[in-house]
């Protein structure tokens, strides 16, 4: 376990010692949040929209997006370690292979707290409401942390498959797609066309519902809005974790 803790500290050092390392991952979701709210804020006037505050609707989405990008960065960092030969040295160490990625995943979860918190604070400052209280807040942070871990597993799978930093855009785009092919902009009842068909099958739709308990009126904290999200996260983690472990086992063969 000390291996995982050491690698966790190493991945945190990368952030603490590189000036501005977290800046893009933090600013991007804030810009998207402000931009999307400014562009589509009037959508709350549509019949069936659960809240009259669009910023309250978007804040959890942007928190998840920030956490997801922080998670996907684990893949880019691993790909860099593979390209530079550092990961080969770790592979010959007398430790179980899963432990080699546990530390970086824990590091990503820790890092993801920064963009999630910055987005939340900016959102609250410009008018979002914390309607879900403490339980809602816990649901939001848990959703972000677990989604970050899933994104990290996805990034790791990509890194061990392609073994190059050039796969970085694929890692980020995977998170982007997962987040936006859901009830990102409007609730399910207002979705039209192909997205109305796809969104219910996307696990992130339920993760978003869980996270939105923090800020959206009409999604009051309850097991009804929490359990589907937990099940979706468990399913995602199991599937992506299996892919990542499969890829890791093939490393060095």
């Amino acid at each position: 376990m000390s291996v995982a803790v050491t690698l966790w500290r190493r991945s945190l050092n990368e952030v603490l010692r590189v000036r501005g390392a977290l800046l893009p991952a933090t600013i991007a979701p804030v810009v998207f949040m402000l931009g999307i709210t400014g562009q589509f804020g009037r959508l709350t006037g549509l019949e069936g929209f659960p809240t009259d505050s669009y910023i309250s609707w978007i804040v959890p989405l942007s928190c998840l997006q920030g956490a997801g990008f922080a998670g996907a960065a684990t893949g880019s960092n691993l790909a860099r370690d593979i390209e530079q030969g550092w990961f080969d040295r770790l592979l010959v160490a007398p430790v179980a292979r899963p432990l080699l990625v546990v530390g970086p995943i824990l590091g990503a979860i820790t890092r993801s707290l920064v963009p999630a918190t910055v987005v939340l604070v900016v959102g609250l400052l410009i008018g979002a409401n914390l309607t879900g209280g403490v339980f809602g807040l816990l649901a939001l942070y848990f959703a972000c942390a677990a989604f970050c871990a899933c994104a990290a597993l996805w990034g790791i799978f990509m890194a061990v498959t392609f073994r190059t930093q050039q796969a970085g855009p694929l890692m980020q785009q995977g998170v982007f797609l997962a987040v936006f092919l859901s009830t990102a902009y409007t609730p399910e009842v207002l979705l039209q066309g192909w997205l109305a068909v796809v969104a219910p099958y996307n696990p992130v739709t339920y993760v978003l519902e869980m996270a939105r308990q923090a800020t959206v009126v009409g999604l009051e904290p309850s097991l009804e809005h929490t359990l589907p999200g937990l099940a979706a996260l468990a399913g995602l983690a199991a599937f992506l974790g299996a892919l990542a472990m499969f890829g890791l086992r093939r490393m060095g063969h």
């Binding site: 810009v31 009037r42 050039q166 855009p169 979705l191």
Partner: protein
């Protein structure tokens, strides 16, 4: 070597770099289309809002936003490539070549112009296949291609100026969200009248507002959606100003050598 030949050669080089590295095509060609697909499907209920213009297709209404997003990304790619050339030393070798120094900037921008033409054509064709209609017809589409290309040159010149001033690849790579501020403070995907009040006030000062409305008017074949003339005037003015900025940055860099 004659200047126009040097510009053409450098433009060709910047395009081949773009097309030989698939990971560079993802953000410029695929990302805007993905966002378009999600916005067109996720927010199309907005058409029933009071004050939304009477348009045939919601997809066609949001395509101009995607085109402008493409110009921003094409421009940013130019700056990233320029910074990469500086960091890895290739730019220094170019400086020793017997060509006018301004050709180094203009060549990069020529590549951006052609990239934008290809990109905009791609967006328009894919959107057409998915049901967007262009009542402006062929003249509207051709006008859109030209307007987008001029705007991409302006965006490319801004990011090239930053690359020349700083020479930092990592700075250019982290400019992505800041460039998007320009997209989101223009009525890229929603009518200006329906933006939130603060954003509506800000959008008046964003040159891309007039470009996106110009594209919308060209494709929609109606002046009610915007003014193509103002769009062209804004894009040309922006392109000239930013190219002067970029060549100024090059001269400053040369003075430091």
């Amino acid at each position: 070597m004659k200047s126009h030949l040097a510009v053409a050669a450098l433009g060709r080089r910047s395009l081949s770099v773009q097309f030989r590295r698939a990971q560079l095509l993802m953000p410029t060609f695929v990302l805007p289309l993905m966002l378009l697909a999600v916005i067109a499907s996720g927010t199309s209920a907005a058409q029933s809002l009071q004050g939304f213009p009477d348009v045939e297709s919601y997809l066609a209404f949001v395509v101009p936003g995607t085109i402008i997003q493409g110009t921003i990304l094409a421009g940013l790619t130019a700056g990233i490539a320029m910074a990469s050339d500086i960091e890895f030393g290739f730019f220094d070798r170019l400086l020793a070549a017997p060509v006018r120094r301004t050709s180094l900037v203009l060549g990069r921008l020529a590549g951006t112009l052609v990239l934008s033409l290809l990109q905009t054509t791609f967006f328009l064709v894919v959107s057409l296949l998915f049901g967007a209609g262009y009542p402006g017809g062929v003249p509207g589409v051709l006008g859109t291609l030209v307007l987008a290309a001029i705007t991409a040159v302006a965006m490319g010149a801004v990011s090239s100026a930053i690359a020349l001033r700083t020479g930092s690849l990592s700075l250019l790579q982290s400019l992505f969200p800041f460039m998007f501020v320009m997209l989101f403070t223009a009525p890229a995907f929603f009518p200006q009248e329906l933006l939130t009040p603060l954003l509506r006030d800000i959008s008046v000062y964003n040159p891309l507002t007039y470009v996106v409305e110009g594209v919308r008017a060209l494709l929609g074949g109606t002046d009610q959606l915007g003014s193509p003339a103002i769009g062209f005037a804004t894009a040309i003015g922006l392109a000239i100003a930013t190219t002067v900025l970029a060549t100024g940055a090059l001269e400053q860099r040369l003075r430091k050598l």
